[in-house]
Symmetry: C2
Subunit: 217 residues, 2 copies
DNA sequence: TCTAATTTTTAGATAAGTCTAAAAATATTT
DNA sequence: AAATATTTTTAGACTTATCTAAAAATTAGA
């Protein structure tokens, strides 16, 4: 149907639309897909030709309904595969992304349906990100930064702001994972670090870490 | 590492070497990968450049050790994925090949190791074909055609000679699958059809079918 | 063994996807 | 409102993988 390159561009535009809330620029896409602006222009013209995006020279680009559907389906597959890797093959959450980048391009309706069912219809992936359904719909959970909690408040870890390898590895090491209940024992006004408790173990985290952990609002 | 096209050519040469027992010709490869002889020549030259095959103009081609290792690894992945699809995702054995053709190109050592372990180290795929280990080794089971059995003999179904869609669908419909014990009740000298029994049900099959079913020798 | 048929290779095109360098358009600053 | 900076597009080149048509080599047959 569509090439991996086309799918990757659509996915990039999809993600950028979601987090900027508007049409996206050539340069932003280039950064996202790790290519050059000229390559992006090239691809945008081909995607426009196929009516997957709405593109006007120099004016940035938006997904068409058709393009958005394809993009959300790739995201769906990516997140289902990440869930499979963690839940069934015992990968840790910092190991799954690159493999899912490959698996998301496998084309088989039945495969993805059966995988969904095998995983018991998960709604969120190992990083706490929502898994879209076939029509691209998903529910956004209300989340706040852990740093916004006051002393003695607690909540459940739903996701991370930063899902870089380094951060995920840090969380791994500290045994922090999605679903954990985190209680704020105390906050240090000097540097905004906080003492927290997870599973009856207590330790302190920097403000940097606390702002990158998202808990149930 | 290597492109999907390269991997597919290596796999084709690997399969042809196994079933012809010698170096393989341009035309045979072209037929196998559904391309034209000129495209094959082109690719062979590139594979030779990379030392994956031994190629002498007009003299056919053989895999190098390096090439054979890559090829057997693709076959390993193909068959593990087919096993996964049947055992875990409830695909039937006539539905798995095309999806496995895609999945076999996913690159991740850990993925294939974990998959192997998740499937409990299967030695044969859903079609009865052996799954090579990391080094390309596998054991060949001795098999004979069902048509060679005499009246009142029985054996276990280990594989099929023909794994075309049509044949697999036929077997599916008749509820014949790998591992079944098949007893020959009678043979009809007129057309070599035979009456057989599987799981306490009896029915007759044509000679054509009987020669395409491989049972334990 | 020479000729004819077949197979294989080369030559030249095409398409996708990428790049660098230069030109064109848009945005920002005096 | 010009001048300058930035962004985007175009032009031209390169790589991989494919094709058709023609040339070259091998094989088979008379
Ligand atoms: Mn991911
Ligand atoms: Mn994720
Ligand atoms: Mn197969
Ligand atoms: Mn198989």
């Amino acid at each position: 149907m569509f090439s991996q390159a086309e799918e990757n561009y659509l996915k990039a535009i999809y993600a950028l639309e979601i987090d900027t809330g508007k049409g996206v620029s050539t340069n932003l896409i280039a950064k996202k897909v790790l290519s050059k602006a000229s390559s992006v222009t090239d691809m945008l013209q081909r995607l426009a030709e196929k009516e997957l995006v709405i593109y006007k020279k120099y004016q940035g680009v938006k997904l068409s309904d058709k393009g958005r559907k394809i993009a959300s389906n790739i995201v769906r597959k990516h997140r289902l595969w990440e869930t499979f890797l963690v839940d069934k093959l015992h990968f840790s959450w910092d190991e799954v992304h690159d493999v899912a980048e490959q698996l998301e391009h496998i084309k088989s309706e039945k495969l993805i349906q059966q995988l969904d069912s095998f995983l018991e219809f998960p709604t969120h992936d190992p990083h706490g990100d929502p898994i879209p359904d076939k029509d691209g719909n998903f529910t956004k959970r209300k989340k706040i930064k852990l740093s916004q909690l006051n002393e003695n408040e607690q909540s459940i870890l739903l996701g991370v702001e930063d899902s870089s390898d380094n951060f995920l590895k840090y969380l791994n090491k500290k045994n922090i994972s999605i679903g954990n209940t985190i209680r704020v024992l105390s906050k240090e006004p000097f540097d905004n670090s906080m003492e927290i408790e997870i599973d009856n173990t207590q330790f302190s985290i920097t403000e940097e870490v606390a702002t990158n952990l998202l808990v149930k609002a």
